[in-house]
């Protein structure tokens, strides 16, 4: 299967390259994403739609192509996000853990260097993230929340666009082999 002359699906796991990052990147980037999520909307409310921790988790998960690594990053980022939010500890942690796990699983099969793939992954995981959070809020916490599919789709598209740009910037932090 070809798309614009480039392959999207990998025939085997060996075809994909595992990106490597400096250790401080695993610490600094998620921390920066969480801080961005916590403080930037305070000064720039228009940017509150950006789900920066989610995008970071998706990026590291698909680039590392390791499910344990992905769920670990997701769990840590999610717990950090819970700590700075009003939601109970574990809500974002569980959601981001699952996002990291599934993103890593998908990254094994897809060419995550492709821009369109990144756009679609960003869109899909944003919707998945919001839906899972809504399900858990209703099932575990008993909160009567509504799920607005239209708004979620629009925000997912915006986050996907932002994610493509973010992923491109984060690519700069990869170790060169």
């Amino acid at each position: 299967m070809t798309y614009s002359g480039e392959r999207i699906l990998l025939s085997s796991q060996r075809e994909g390259q595992v990106s490597r990052f400096q250790k401080w990147v695993f610490l600094a980037v998620p921390l920066a994403a969480v801080l961005f999520q916590a403080y930037v909307p305070t000064f720039f409310p228009v940017l509150s739609f950006v789900e920066m921790p989610l995008l970071v988790v998706v990026y590291f998960a698909i680039m590392r192509r390791n499910q344990i690594s992905g769920l670990t990053v997701g769990a840590l980022v999610g717990l950090a996000q819970d700590s700075l939010s009003k939601s109970p500890l574990g809500m974002f942690g569980i959601v981001n853990t699952l996002v990291g796990y599934f993103a890593a699983s998908v990254g094994v099969r897809l060419d995550v260097e492709h821009g369109l793939i990144r756009l679609l992954l960003g869109f899909f995981f944003y919707v998945f993230h919001q839906f899972l959070y809504w399900v858990m809020s209703r099932a575990l916490l008993g909160q009567q929340m509504t799920f607005d599919w239209t708004r979620t789709a629009m925000l997912a598209a915006l986050n996907a666009v932002v994610g493509v740009a973010l992923f491109h910037m984060l690519d700069k932090l990869k170790e060169r082999t």
Binding site: A75, P88, L89, G90, G93, L98, L140
Partner: protein, 501 residues
């Protein structure tokens, strides 16, 4: 095992991380009721399991006890049956004790409130013989009991003492065939004699067939027998059957309604009491005068010559007495009686213009009626004379009929209340509806042709004077012919059985 973990390492780690965060979420989060979610989840998760386990345990235990371990069921059943029987007997015993206590209390209260002097006694034995209704009580002459004393309970009379011994007395129960007592009905004040029949019900004898006695009416002692003071309840009329010449009235004794009682009261010194008032339905009812402009003359206003044979006979005798200036009932012993031979054939037709009622003092005084009253009608009213159907209402109190009551014109003149009650102020004399056999017609009544048939019932019309001076023998129940009973009825306040003129 190690290979299994390596194979599912990723999903295992995922589940562990998710589980850890769930625990963290449960510990940190609380519901709106401030209960941590870990408690809610734990209880929610554990409760169904506990319910299932308990259901299984209870089911298995029940199955074991109900179907497997039944070796001692029969023995336990027998034990429970015997215990139930014992409880039943104990229950009966306690109920009897309670009834005895209630009766004793009622007896004590009655003893305190009755004006008669009484002594409590307990029935200790019953007399021999299947038909005799005799019992022995534990009070005798030592306690002041004498032969002839009445035995009562708060519910009614029970019997009378027929033999008094030093420490015990023999009581003839009310149901014994030899028992008799003078009684009077509450509503209509009809006198009669109560007699035992050997059955649970007694009968009241010597009540004329024309007397009105209804089932459900209370019967009280009249005091005429000089054994039972007046005013003690006797029983309730259960059945009234017509008879000739007397009604057949059955009375259920109230004193023995619940069988033979254990504790009774012997009246050492009886005091007469008034008969309780009749129910509200028998209270006097005021009937207004007819509207003005009513030209229709009441049918009863015109003297009527209609009447029974007794009325005609009475009229003849009274006219004869008036001719000879003989007043019935007011002649001392030795006075020459009226010459009845001049009467000729009693019951013969009264000549025209012959007054049906003499102008003697025994007649209801027409002058007692107020001037604005309608023309005096026949003075005959009494309990047996309701207004004729269709008779226009007149202003008169609908006084319940009583013995020798208003409107009655007794030939003997022994009822002092009669003249006063015959014509109350602003009232008219009741119209003559149906002339009772003892009722004389008003003066001025047109003559009527009367058959020469003699009176059948032996009422006052045949011999009005002689019987009124014969008091009943002391100590015997007052057995009065109907009319005589009415005339012998003493006025209020007169002790029953007192001297009758």
């Amino acid at each position: 095992m190690e290979s299994l973990l390596n194979r599912y390492r990723n999903i295992t780690v995922l589940l562990l991380v998710i589980m850890a965060q769930l625990v963290l979420l449960a510990v940190s989060a609380k519901n709106p009721d401030d209960v941590r979610f870990i408690r809610i989840w734990t209880v929610t998760a554990v409760t169904p399991v506990a319910r299932i386990i308990e259901g299984l345990r209870g089911g298995s235990t029940g199955f074991l006890h109900n179907y497997i371990l039944l070796h001692d069921t029969n023995q336990e059943n027998r034990r429970l049956r015997s215990e139930l029987d014992r409880m039943k007997m104990e229950n009966v015993f306690l109920k009897n004790e309670l009834n005895t206590a209630d009766r004793a209390k009622a007896l004590q209260v009655f003893q305190q409130h009755t004006p008669s002097r009484t002594v409590a006694a307990t029935i200790i034995a019953t007399g021999a013989g299947s038909s005799s209704k005799v019992v022995f009580v534990d009070r005798g002459t030592v306690s002041g009991v004498q032969r002839g004393m009445a035995v009562v309970t708060p519910d009614g009379i029970v019997g009378k003492v027929i033999a008094a011994y030093p420490t015990a007395s023999q009581v003839l129960l009310i149901t014994d065939p030899d028992f008799a007592a003078g009684v009077v009905t509450q509503k209509s004040q009809v006198h009669g004699t109560l007699k035992g029949q050997g059955t649970p019900q007694c009968k009241v004898d010597y009540v004329a067939f024309e007397e009105k006695v209804e089932p459900g009416e209370w019967v009280y002692t009249s005091g005429d027998d000089r054994i039972f003071p007046r005013g003690f309840p006797v029983g309730i009329v259960k059945a009234v059957r017509p008879g000739q010449p007397f009604k057949e009235i059955l009375v259920e004794p109230s004193g023995m309604q619940r069988g033979l009682v254990e504790d009774v009261l012997i009246l050492i010194e009886g005091v007469h009491q008034p008969i309780p008032e009749a129910p509200a339905g028998m209270q006097p009812i005021y009937i207004a005068t007819p509207p003005p402009g009513n030209d229709s003359t009441p049918a009863s206003a015109a003297p009527s010559a209609s009447g029974t044979e007794a009325d005609r006979l009475r009229a003849q005798y009274q006219a004869l007495g008036a001719e000879q200036k003989h007043t019935y009932g007011d002649n001392p012993p030795g006075t020459k009686p009226a010459d009845f031979t001049r009467l000729g054939n009693p019951g013969a037709a009264v000549p025209p213009g012959y007054p049906l009622g003499p102008a003697g003092k025994n007649l209801p005084a027409p002058a007692a009626a107020p001037p604005n009253s309608p023309a005096p009608s026949n003075a005959e009213t009494g309990k047996n004379s309701p207004p004729a159907p269709g008779t226009p209402p007149v202003a008169r109190p609908a006084v319940p009929a009583k013995n020798g009551s208003a409107g009655t014109a007794p030939a003997t003149g022994k009822n002092p209340a009669a003249p006063n009650m015959a014509a109350p102020p602003r009232t008219a004399a009741p119209p003559q509806a149906e002339a009772g056999k003892n009722s004389p017609s008003a003066p001025g009544s047109p003559p009527a042709t009367r058959p020469a048939a003699p009176a059948k019932n032996g009422s006052a019309g045949t011999a009005p004077a002689p019987d009124k001076s014969d008091p009943p023998p002391a100590g015997t129940p007052a057995i009065h012919p109907p009319d005589a009973a009415r005339r012998l009825n003493p006025p209020a306040g007169t002790p029953p059985g007192g001297q009758l003129r």
